[in-house]
């Protein structure tokens, strides 16, 4: 099969006997061998496991058993997901000394149950405290559209693997933007669900009160396929909501004509390069979204998310900072040390502000069904780039990358990032929905894809 085939196309070919799952897995593994030395997306492959799983899918088909919706579909996971038999790296050197995971993360078990075939673990920024996709221990993830450029992070390998055609979809995590940023830089569809929707059990944490998991793919349909297979309560994640699964795939094609869609103004219109605003304008125009809306105190929300991240992250890593400080990525270590020094009263105020801000933003959804906003203020910067010119001033690059994603994940709203295929590089736009309404964001993303406004561009060469 074509390496660019969608997850849905692969599953259909396997179910109908036009392709064997083993042949699909072997071809994908061969492609990883060929391209990963350049993309640096995979940090480990699970070849034996993949071929065994694919063989079991083929055996089930031969026996006439019903196959799952992801039968024979290759996928991979950010290396903070537990994979049985492997140490969970979370992008670090320190975790290489951890015991191998005794079993897979919940989401991997659910995808396997749907017939998907895990091919390996993916590069990421250390301990997910990253927006670039660079990693001092493993080398940077490289953007398939221009390998001198960042994938974005922290789910950098996830972006590179999917945009590079190595797998049709892969899993990432998002605390402040780590699914939406690489989706934007790599030109992919990314789903950051409502906080508490998808299980985080068996993933290495960063900021417990902000961590989400979710899929990235080259189409809305594939996002929905993966998302539907992973939904459902998980008692092993105390944050995972006790809600029934709400399958989205059957809803994707529903008309969006009745939806009230607004464009975020104010904060979301400044601090960006022209490509971000061009992408938003294209999406808004296609959706006939003429109404502007102000998300109140978004700058303060971003500030509060940063404070909570620095301090919760520092608390998580305090023992490692005491005993293994020299083994951290120095830039991560220095941010964590700084987070450890922040007085607790600031953190409590940030959490109080969070409650207030949530109430204000939820009021907006009484009058709109979705909000459109840029995902990143610019397309993928060069690997190693430290600063960027914004509004006439040279500013530190890294913190700017998440300015539009942080105020949204801060209150756990579901978001689909859609890729707008600008030249020379794609850039993403956030479709933001009320809590538990991933279906709205995914329906809008699908409509934009149908209108050819959103598309995951295939890298040249």
């Amino acid at each position: 099969m074509d390496a660019w085939a969608s997850a849905g196309e692969v599953a259909a070919a396997v179910v109908e006997g036009r392709a064997s799952a083993v042949a699909v897995a072997e071809a994908a593994l061969a492609l990883i061998d060929e391209r990963n030395p350049i993309l640096n997306a995979f940090t480990a492959t699970t070849r034996e496991r993949a071929l065994a799983k694919a063989g079991a899918v083929d055996t089930d088909r031969a026996a006439g058993k019903a196959l799952g919706p992801l039968a024979g579909v290759p996928y991979a996971v950010k290396n903070l997901f537990d994979v049985a038999g492997q140490a969970t790296l979370a992008g670090s050197k320190i975790n290489r000394g951890r015991s191998a995971a005794a079993r897979d993360a919940t989401l991997i078990r659910r995808l396997d149950a749907a017939g998907a075939v895990l091919l390996g673990a993916l590069n990421m920024g250390e301990y997910a405290y990253d927006f670039t996709g660079e990693n001092v221990h493993c080398g940077p993830s490289r953007n398939p559209h221009d390998t001198t450029r960042m994938t974005g992070g922290s789910s950098g390998g996830t972006g590179g693997a999917v945009a590079g055609g190595l797998v049709p979809f892969a899993l990432g995590s998002d605390t402040n933007g780590s699914i939406r940023v690489p989706s934007s830089f790599c030109g992919l569809f990314g789903l950051k669900p409502t906080y508490g929707r998808l299980s985080r059990a068996g993933t290495f944490p960063f900021v417990a009160s902000l961590d989400h998991t979710g899929p990235m793919a080259r189409s809305t349909r594939d996002l929905a396929l993966a998302y539907d297979a992973m939904q459902g309560h998980d008692p092993e994640d105390p944050v995972c909501a006790d809600r029934r699964a709400e399958p989205v795939l059957p809803e994707l094609t529903r008309d969006i004509g009745g939806l009230r869609i607004a464009v975020a103004g104010g904060y979301f219109e400044s601090g960006a390069l022209p490509e971000a605003m061009i992408a938003v304008a294209r999406v808004a125009s296609a959706l006939d979204a003429t109404r502007g809306i102000e998300i109140p105190e978004a700058a303060r929300a971003r500030a509060a998310a940063s404070v909570i991240s620095a301090t919760e992250g520092a608390a998580l890593h305090l023992d490692r900072l005491r005993t293994r400080a020299a083994d951290f990525d120095p830039t991560v270590r220095d941010r964590l040390f700084a987070g450890a020094c922040v007085p607790a009263s600031f953190v409590v105020k940030a959490q109080k502000f969070r409650r207030w801000y949530r109430e204000q933003v939820l009021k907006l959804f009484e009058n709109v069904d979705a909000i459109v906003a840029p995902a990143t203020p610019f397309s993928a910067p060069r690997i190693g780039q430290q600063t960027i010119m914004l509004e006439g001033a040279e500013v530190s690059l890294r913190p700017q990358i998440g300015i539009f994603t942080q105020p949204i994940s801060f209150i756990g709203l579901p978001v689909v990032t859609v890729p707008v295929p600008l030249s020379p590089l794609p850039i993403g736009v956030q479709i933001i929905a009320p809590p538990w309404r991933e279906d709205i964001a995914l329906r809008i993303a699908y409509a934009l894809e149908e209108m050819k406004v959103a598309a995951a561009p295939r890298p040249a060469g």
Partner: protein, 63 residues
Amino acid sequence: MDADADDAIDKLIDASAVALTLPIDAAWKPAIRANLEVTLRLANIVAEFELPDEVEPAPTFEA
């Protein structure tokens, strides 16, 4: 940041290192100070926002 502010942040880092038994190498301190300055600036942006006493914090957030 002026010299006095730098000095105050350095003292906060030193005090935190003692309180939390953190082995902070002197060579790391300028970068830690730079990060802490940013985080404290952001923290103050939040802190100066007036909220009623009754507003509940959301450490375990539910959407």
